[in-house]
Every structure is written in structure tokens, then in C-alpha cells.
């Protein structure tokens, strides 16, 4: 018999079969469901359904992206759970008739598989396991301690509990799915090697994917370092067993209590909660601290030992929470900036490190990864676009393309993972994976020379990004060489400097004739104030120009550039310090607005500004216009503006 083929439904089935409850269905059932799926794309911060909305005739599975569930707790809308790839949600229509009790919102760009309820009902009715799984998932989203019942009970017992903002302890633990395991016949030495390679404090011994034992650092100390067992003995000699296992959806509070009770620091989660089923993940004391994660040193450690992009993405979410806390507590921007920069820098380094390991071979020559633009200036606090480039050692003409191909492949991996973590692709394609910006040191030197020799508008734009390069990973000598070259070619090059000066004066003015804020006239951001174009760019451009002119080398940060200028030119100290202040104030301002609206903070609705904020901004503009006056005089640009 000939068959109809349905490649697209097969593709959907291939994905859903990996996740519960669909892993409980057979091939034909999967295909029948897949044929009825609808795929929906949603931008970030899009509502899928609201509290009290009538029920949809479908439930959802996340194919790509992430979704937050929110609920009113003490009259405030709080996030109660987060879901990502492979998770199902919106199960209410399967079990209840009343309207939705929670709101669900996309956290990032998301692609959903929508599964029709009508189609799915028979599977719930006929398959006990499917029914059980869905009822549990449904219950854990709605009937958990956040429910009114629970709150009422608490009040009745007159127990006063200080709930943290997001009731951290009551959240389900987030499993580490990338579990490090060994077979029971492995040697202790091999197991210990695996542990140190992966930077973990314990290793699970498995047989047919079921956990049969666990070894921790402590066991190595107790049994091996004491000489009781040899490093060549089988791990089964020293492993602890049976393993304490739990089911998915255990809360953090439960996990903490269990760890204390049994004096263990790791929990193994298996499919059915017993050691006789497959391992679905592990969870350690350290992971609780990371989940709580409001401590930069813990985050730093987590970044360095992270082994997956997904994990780095979660850590970056914590970094954003940390940032939000700092901004709220009004901590000086210089401190905030340093910490966030270090954490971002470590994240990017870790990504590159992992990608280098993933390549089939070691780098053919020395290279360095350069961060450009705002990351290069250490002014990147929010999720903004990635700007980066690669410089590699010179090779002979016969090999250069081969070498470039290697680094382009590496860059492609790194750029992609950075995007996953939250650094969007640069719309101008100024990224290391672009062959134009993956060059040898000679090529880079020529490139910079060309930009400063024949400088048109395009070159000026490129200079504004590439002149603020900073090393993120690799060989510092290459960067030093490039810095020296750039210093050399710009030194006394007044033609180039005055062109750069002219372009730094070209940004549209922030204030109108009556000192009112000038807003965008049309487009997506109509009636918004463009903070980047009208305020941040002019001060950044001025800082760069003066740094080049006065040969301030290796300082990329705008505020630091102005502070240095104040130091070497005491006569203009006041002006330069006010610029340094303006640069920091504007960055803080942008960060605050970005955090509030989950965007880049570039466009600001005027109505939202308090009188005080407006005055603060106007003070910044004053500093900018003064430094622009100075530039006009210095570079003889009186005819401009």
C-alpha cells in the first residue's frame, strides 16, 4: 500500500515525543496529535491568556522560548512559575470549566505548539499515566501554596511569615539536566577525573540510566585519601547507595529540608521518584544558592563552572535581578558598572572557552576576541546588541583563508550562543562571524589605517564602534599591538580628528528653542525621547575624540576618559568632571528605564519623567553642549551647527 507522507507533522511529533506527557504515547497517537497542532509565534512580553479570560480550546507546549505564569498575591501580580522548552501549560481547560486563574506571558520570543483540547481528551480518558501527569502539573501550577486556601490557613493559625517577594522557597527546583555519571565498573580515578573536569562535587553511578549510587568529594577524602581503597578500585566499592531520589516538582524548601535531614548536598530526581527509574536531573545545595543568586561571587563561580548555554542564560537572568536590586538601592553607578561588566565579561569568556573546546581542533594560531562598542567601553548594563570581532596572528598567504575559515566557524558558534543568552545579533552585522571583521593583525592594521586615511560617513560610523575595542578572550599581545598601531596613526592626524569632531557634533539636539525636550516625530517610537541618539552618543563621541586627541590609551569607558582628561587638564577640570558625571547619570537613567520596560531603555516617554528627572537630564545636556563648544574651538569647527 502506498502512503501519504506528512513531513511537517513528523517534525512536530519528533519534538513532542521527548517530553511528558507525550513520551507516554505511541507513534501513531503522536502523529495523530501532531497533525492537529497549530504553531504560534509570539514576541516577548506578549500575553497568552489573562486571569479571568474564557478558556481557550487548546493547551500549550513551548517549542522555543520561555513563558511566565503570574498570579495576584496580596493584590500584586507576581510570577509564580517559569516554563521553557518542552514544558506544557495552560492545562486548565482540560480539568476545569471556570475561566483562567493565572495569567501567562512570554518572557522572550516564543514559539508555541497549540494542542486542541477536543483532540486530546481521549488520551486523558484512556491513558492513566497521561491523566496522572497532567493532573499533577495542573495542580502544581494552581493549587500550590499560593492558593487562597493556603493563605487563609496561614492567617487562621496566626502564624506570621515573612514571604520574600517571589516566595522563593516555594518555587520548584530547577534541575540540572546535564548529569555527570559513571558506570559501576569505572575506576575511582576515572570518576574523580570526570568530577574535576566538570567542576562538580559529586558523581552519580548509573546502570541503564537508573541511579544506583553516588560518590561525593567527601567519599574520596574518607575512603581513598586515607588509603583504604586504591584509585584503581571500582567506584562501586566506595559509592553510597541506595540513592535518595525524588520526583520532579519538589520545591526548594522541600529540597533544603531533605538535604539537612539526610546530611546530603545533592538530590537526584528520577522519573517516578524511585532509584528504579531513569535519572531526569540533579539538584545541589550550590544550585539553590545560584537560584537565589543575589550574590555576585556566587554568580561568578556559577558562570565559571557552567557547562551549558541554557544555564548561562539563567545566570544572566540572575545578573539582571542583581542589577535591578542595585539600581533600586541607588548604589553608585561606577560600582554597579564594574560588577555587571565583570559578570558579563565572564559570561562571554565562558561561552568562548566552551566553543573553543567544541571545535574539532585547537586554534591554528593565536587569536583574541574583541568586544566593541558599549561592551568594549564597559557601558553595557542591559541586554543590548552584541558587537564583536576577532583578530588573529599573521600567517602566510597560503594559509590565511584556511585560518580565517576556522575562526569564522568558531565565531559563528559564539555569536549564536551569545544570542541565546540574550545578546541580540548586531543589526549592522558587526560581529566576529562576519568575514569583514574576522581579520589577521596585519589586515586589522590596514583596515584601521584605511578608515583614518579616507574618512567618509561610513568610516566615521565604523570608527565610533571599532575604536572602543577591548579584549575579552585570548592573546593580549595582539590587542596591545593593535592599540599601538591605532595610537600611531591617529597621533597628530588632525584631518581625521576634525572629521571625527564634526561627526560628534552632528547628533540632533536634545532640547528645542524653548528648552523643551525634542521627541521623535514618527515611527515606532513617536513622541518618545531618544536618549541614546540625543544624549548618550554625543557625550560618548566627545569622550572618544578627546581621548584620541590627548593620546589617552587603553581607557575606553566614557566616564573614565573624562576623569582622566580632568586630571591632565586641571584648567577644564570642572567641565570634564561634569561630563563624566553626565555619562554615568545617563547610563543609569537608561538602565532604570530599560529595566522598568524590559527593553533597551533607549526611548523614553516624557510623561513618565518626574520634574526632578527632567532637571537632572537638562543638567547632563548642559555639560554636553559645553564640551561640544570646546570641541568646536579646539578643532576649528565653527562652521558646524
Amino acid at each position: 500500500m502506498n502512503m501519504m507522507k506528512n513531513t511537517i507533522a513528523d517534525r512536530v511529533a519528533d519534538f513532542i515525543k521527548n517530553f511528558p506527557p507525550f513520551d507516554l504515547l505511541d507513534k501513531d497517537q503522536l502523529l495523530d496529535i501532531s497533525k492537529e497542532v497549530k504553531i504560534k509565534y509570539l514576541d516577548k512580553e506578549n500575553i497568552i491568556y489573562n486571569i479571568n479570560d474564557p478558556l481557550h480550546d487548546q493547551f500549550y507546549m513551548i517549542y522555543k522560548g520561555a513563558v511566565k505564569l503570574k498570579k495576584y498575591i496580596n493584590e500584586k501580580l507576581e510570577t509564580i512559575d517559569q516554563f521553557d522548552e518542552g514544558d506544557v501549560f495552560g492545562l486548565r481547560p482540560l480539568f476545569a470549566k471556570e475561566n483562567y486563574a493565572i495569567t501567562s506571558v512570554t518572557e522572550e520570543e516564543t514559539i508555541l505548539y497549540c494542542i486542541p483540547i477536543d483532540m486530546f481528551h481521549p488520551f486523558i480518558d484512556n491513558n492513566k499515566d497521561v491523566r496522572q501527569y497532567l493532573i499533577e502539573s495542573f495542580a502544581s501550577n494552581t493549587e500550590n501554596p499560593f492558593s487562597n486556601e493556603f493563605q487563609k490557613k496561614l492567617l487562621k493559625d496566626d502564624v506570621k511569615l515573612d514571604f520574600s517577594k517571589d516566595m522563593f522557597e516555594m518555587q520548584p527546583v530547577r534541575l540540572i539536566k546535564n548529569v555527570i555519571t559513571a558506570k559501576q565498573t569505572s575506576s575511582i580515578k576515572d570518576a574523580a577525573k570526570l568530577m574535576s573536569e566538570n567542576n562538580v562535587g559529586s558523581i552519580i553511578i548509573e546502570d541503564k540510566d537508573c541511579p544506583i549510587g553516588i560518590i561525593t568529594d567527601k567519599d574520596l577524602r574518607l575512603h581513598v585519601a586515607t588509603g583504604n581503597f586504591s584509585i584503581n578500585d571500582d567506584v562501586s566499592k566506595i559509592m553510597n547507595h541506595p540513592v535518595m531520589c525524588y520526583k520532579k516538582n519538589i520545591t526548594i524548601a522541600q529540597a533544603q529540608i531533605t538535604m539537612m535531614k539526610h546530611k546530603i548536598n545533592q538530590i537526584v530526581v528520577t522519573k517516578d521518584g524511585t532509584p528504579n527509574s531513569k535519572i531526569s536531573g540533579v539538584f545541589s545545595e550550590h544550585d539553590i544558592i545560584v537560584m537565589k543568586g543575589t550574590n555576585p561571587s556566587v554568580l561568578m563561580k556559577a558562570i565559571k563552572r557552567s557547562n551549558s548555554t541554557k544555564e548561562l542564560k539563567r545566570i544572566r537572568e540572575k545578573i539582571m535581578m542583581l542589577l535591578e536590586g542595585y539600581i533600586q538601592q541607588n548604589i553608585p553607578l561606577t560600582h554597579i558598572n564594574n560588577i555587571i561588566f565583570e559578570l558579563n565579561d565572564a559570561t562571554i569568556k565562558r561561552v568562548i572557552e566552551r566553543c573553543v573546546e567544541k571545535m574539532d581542533q585547537a586554534p591554528p594560531v593565536k587569536f583574541a576576541w574583541m568586544s566593541l562598542g558599549s561592551q568594549g567601553r564597559k557601558e553595557q548594563l542591559l541586554h543590548t546588541d552584541q558587537d564583536n570581532a576577532i583578530v588573529f596572528e599573521n600567517t602566510d598567504d597560503d594559509h590565511i583563508e584556511e585560518v580565517r575559515t576556522y575562526f569564522l566557524a568558531l565565531a559563528k558558534k559564539v555569536n549564536k550562543r551569545l544570542k541565546t543568552i540574550g545578546f541580540e545579533y548586531c543589526p549592522g552585522e558587526m560581529m566576529a562571524k562576519n568575514p569583514k571583521y574576522c581579520l589577521s593583525i596585519d589586515e586589522w592594521e590596514n583596515q584601521f589605517s584605511a578608515w583614518t586615511r579616507e574618512t567618509g560617513d561610513d568610516e566615521l560610523l565604523l570608527c565610533s564602534i571599532f575604536f572602543d575595542f577591548d579584549i575579552t578572550y585570548g592573546d593580549i599581545a595582539l590587542i596591545t599591538q593593535l592599540t599601538e598601531h591605532v595610537t600611531e596613526i591617529t597621533k597628530g592626524n588632525l584631518i581625521f580628528q576634525s572629521k571625527l569632531g564634526a561627526s560628534s557634533l552632528r547628533n540632533p539636539s536634545p532640547l528645542g528653542f524653548f528648552r523643551q525636550f525634542l521627541v521623535e516625530q514618527d515611527g515606532e517610537h513617536k513622541d518618545h525621547f531618544d536618549l541614546k541618539k540625543r544624549a548618550i552618543m554625543p557625550v560618548t563621541d566627545a569622550g572618544r575624540l578627546l581621548a584620541i586627541h590627548y593620546q589617552i590609551i587603553s581607557i575606553n569607558n566614557t566616564a573614565e576618559r573624562f576623569e582622566k582628561l580632568a586630571e591632565i587638564m586641571p584648567e577644564d577640570e570642572e567641565l570634564f568632571l561634569s561630563c563624566a558625571y553626565a555619562s554615568k547619570a545617563l547610563l543609569k537613567f537608561r538602565t532604570k528605564h530599560g529595566l522598568r520596560h524590559h527593553n533597551s531603555g533607549r526611548f523614553i516617554a516624557l510623561a513618565e519623567l518626574s520634574k526632578e528627572e527632567k532637571m537632572k537630564l537638562k543638567r547632563c545636556f548642559k555639560a554636553i553642549s559645553k564640551v561640544q563648544e570646546l570641541i568646536k574651538l579646539k578643532f576649528n569647527l565653527k562652521n558646524f551647527i
Binding site: M3, K5, I8, E429
Partner: protein, 221 residues
Amino acid sequence: MKWPFNKKEKAYPEYWKRYNSHFLEPKETDINTSTYVVLDTETTGFNYEKDRMLSIGAVKIINGYIDISTAFEFYIKQDYFNESTVEIHGLIKNERLETVSEEEAVILFLDYIKDSVLVAHHAFFDITMINTALKRLELPELKNKVLDTMFIYKATRLKSNLIDPNKKYTLDELAENYDIDLSDRHTASGDALITAIAFIKSMQFLIKTKAYTLKDLLNCK
């Protein structure tokens, strides 16, 4: 001057008349609620006259949802055997796939698309391939509006002198930029699904940032 009574019109088969009837009255065209048919064809080569379609894969976007139940996938019987058809013959034989004649494929396709907006990557190629098949059946060309994801994607890109304005973006590049899974690449249906996701992403971006209408999409060149 043309004879006012076009004899040929009468001679058109029933299925063409059925298809044609969808175009008699102009319809409201909203970018969000229009029905799109995202399609891809696999062919024996790139010569419009000599080469033939091997398969057509398509899926509909209805009210913003890619509806898998509308997936369209047909393999076309080949009269001639040539090297580039080996693989697909193998596939058809191994998986015992049902094949249809070119005319049957055309009938199924016209009934399927009705007056939907057609979407394809490098659409000119696929549409010309289909129109050539129509010509062989002595039928006029397709009447649908056509969108090319290449040009739509291009409209989402930054206008900058630093980016070559004549750059041709391949489906692979779109998929890479939008982080779309590339399995089933180079099967008509697989490519249609990749194209559909890329299309929705580009379209949503253009609606959000530039308030695009369907008319603007049609003007993407």
C-alpha cells in the same frame, strides 16, 4: 482587436473555473487575518522549460497560526528518468509514497490555495515552475498575490552602506538568524515549514517596528 467572446474561457476545465471563482470579488486584505500558503517546490533542475517539479510542500497560516492540519505534500510521477531524480525516486520507492500526475498535483494545489496569499523563499522560481506546469495544461497563470521571504527579510535588515544592499539571503541564513531548526532541509515540506516560521518572524517585526500592511509586504523588492 480581440474577439470579444473568448472561446478558450469556455474550454477551461472545471477545476480551473472553481479556482478562478475565488477571484471574482475583491476581498479585504488585512495583514494579520489573511490566509497565507507558504510553499516550496523541489524540481529536477533550474531550467523552467526542461525541468519538472518533483514535489510540492506547503502549509497554511490562518489567523497567525501555522496550522499543521493544512499541511500539503505531494510527489509527482516523473515520465523521464534523469540523474537528479534518482534520490526522490529512491525516497518514493523506499517509503512507498503515493505519487500523482502533474495534472492531478495542479488540481489538488489549486483547490488548496484558493485565493490565499502565496509565500515562498525566492518565490519567483517556484511560481514560475508552477506557471510553466499550468501552461503545459493550457491554463493561464496563477492569480494569487505572491510574497517573497527573501525581500521581506531584507526589509527587516538595517539600511546601511556597510551592508551590501544587493545581498541575496539564503533560507539557511534566515534560519540561522532566527534560530530555526534545519532538519528536513531540502524536502519541499521541510523548507516550507522553515520558510513559514521565518515569514511570521519577519512579518511581526515589520508590523511592530514599521507598522507594515499587506500592501507594504507586497511592495518589498
